[in-house]
Symmetry: C2
Amino acid sequence: GRLVPIYVHNPHLDALKDDILYHFSLGTGSHNLPAMFGDVKFVCVGGSPWRMKSFTEFIAAELAMEDPKSEYPNICAGTDRYAMYKVGPVLSVSHGMGIPSIAIMLHELIKLLHHAHCTDVTIIRIGTSGGIGLEPGTVVVTKQSVDATFQPKFEQVILGKTVVRSTDLDQSLAQELLQCSKRLNQFETVIGNTMCTLDFYEGQARLDGAFCSYTEADKQEYLLKAKEAEVCNIEMESSVFAAMCKLSGLRAAVVCVTLLDRLKGDQLSSSHEVLNNYQLRPQKLVGSYIKHNLCLPTICINIKT
Amino acid sequence: GRLVPIYVHNPHLDALKDDILYHFSLGTGSHNLPAMFGDVKFVCVGGSPWRMKSFTEFIAAELAMEDPKSEYPNICAGTDRYAMYKVGPVLSVSHGMGIPSIAIMLHELIKLLHHAHCTDVTIIRIGTSGGIGLEPGTVVVTKQSVDATFQPKFEQVILGKTVVRSTDLDQSLAQELLQCSKRLNQFETVIGNTMCTLDFYEGQARLDGAFCSYTEADKQEYLLKAKEAEVCNIEMESSVFAAMCKLSGLRAAVVCVTLLDRLKGDQLSSSHEVLNNYQLRPQKLVGSYIKHNLCLPTICINIKT
C-alpha cells in the first residue's frame, strides 16, 4: 500500500537551519536522524525509563534479535529528561508522568520521525492505571480517552485560548491488540474508555493525598458515574497522546494494566513482586503484537523464496 | 518563635494503618520517617534528577558538611519516578516536567514532612525557564505565578469540577533571595511574575513544535501582552507548586534561570557549556541563601559560648 508519512503541521520548521530536539539531546545538525531512525516502524512509550529499557531487552528477545553481548545504549544519554532505546525497527521512549511531560516528548518524537523520513509508524503507549470495577492486573486497551467530565476531548491552550482536539484512537489497532491478547491467553484484556486526569490524588478522587475535601461516598459516586460512561481505567497521559498522534498521522493505541480496583481502595499496597508482574503484561501483549505484525527482512525473504 | 508544622488537609489519613508514598517507594510502615527526615528545614526541588544530585553535592560543600568519602545515595532508589537526596537539614527532590508530575511529588512530599513531624520548613523550586526581554542567564525570583491568561490562579479539577486556588508565594522569602543575590554579586537577578503553562511548544507560543498554527507576529503579540502583565519568564510547574505549598503552610519560593530570550527565538541553541553554567545559578543563589540562614548546631553552640 501507499506509505503513510509522519505529518508535522508547522510551516516554520522549514526555515530552521538546524532543529534541536532539546529534551532528547538530539538534533538535525548534530545527528544523522534518517540513518539513526529511518527504519523505525513501531514506537512504544511509557512513563518509566527503567520500564522502557526492560521493554527493549524483552522485545529483542521476542524478535530473536538479541545479541547476548550487546547492550542497548540510551540514545538520549546527553539528558535525563527522557530515555530512548532502539532494537531493529522498534523504538522505546520514556515520557515521565502527566500530560505536559508526554506532550514535550511527543512534539520532539514526531519531529524526529518526520526528519528521519519514517513511514507507516505504529505507536503504542504501555502504562499503568487505576481500574474501575476490574480485577487488578486486567489490561485495558483504550477505546476512547475521556477527560474528568467523561468527554472525549483534549483542551490545548494556544496563545492563551483553548482549542479542543479529538482524542480518537485507531479502532482497528485496538481490536488487533485484543485479538492478540486472546491468542496469548495469559491475562484478562478488555477494551474500554480511559479517563485521563491532570492529577493523581484529588484529580482521581483519591482519599489518600495531602489534601482531600470530599467523602468516601462522594468518591464512589464519581467513580460510578465514570463507570456508567464506560470508563474502565484512569491514567494521566492518554488524551494528549491520542490527540497528537491523530494530528500527525500515527496509528496509535493505549495499553495500560490496572494496578488496583479504585472502587475498593486508593493505595498501591500490593507487593512489589505482584505489581512488577502486572506491569509486564502490557509489554508482553505489545511484544507479541509486534512479533506477529513485523515483517522482518529475513522473514520476508524466507516467505518469498 | 512558634514552630510551624506542615499541614495536611485530609481527615482520611488518620484512618490509614500504613501510608504508602508510592512514587517515592517509601512508607510509614516500611520506613522510620521521623528518624530519616525529622531534621529537614530546607527542601529544594527541580525537574532533573541529575541536577538535584549535583545540588546536594554543591550544598554539602557550601555548608562544609561534605565528607570526601561520602556519597549521597538516592533515597528513592526503589523507583525511577523521582530522585531524592539529603545532606544535613537540606532535602533535594526531583519532580520531572509539568504540573501533574510535580503535583504527585508534592502530595507525597507534604505527607512525608507531616509524618516526619517537620517544622518551619522552607521549600524552593530551582529550575529553568524561557525569559521575556531579559538577557539569557538572568535569574528570576517569582513574585506571582500566573496562568496562560496572566491570572494569578491555579485550577484544580476535583470530582470533575474546577476549584480555583491562589498561587501566592512568600513575598518576604522572595525579597530575602533577591538580597542574597546582591550580596553574591555573580549574576543578574530580578523579581517578576512567572507564567506557568501546560505545554512547552504551542502552550508557550513557540514556533518550533511539531504543530504550529500561528505566525511570528501572533507569537510576539502574545509574549508582549505577557510582558505587560509583568511576566518575566515562562515555565511549567510554579502554579501548582505555589498553590500546594500555600495550602500546606510551607514557606515557598521559585527561582528559575532564563535559558533564552523568547522575544528573540525559541530553540535552545546555546552551547551545553553555557546552558550548564546558567543552570548552576539558581543552585548558587539558593545554596548561598541556605548557608546564610541555616543555624547549624555547631554554629549555634559557637554563638552561645
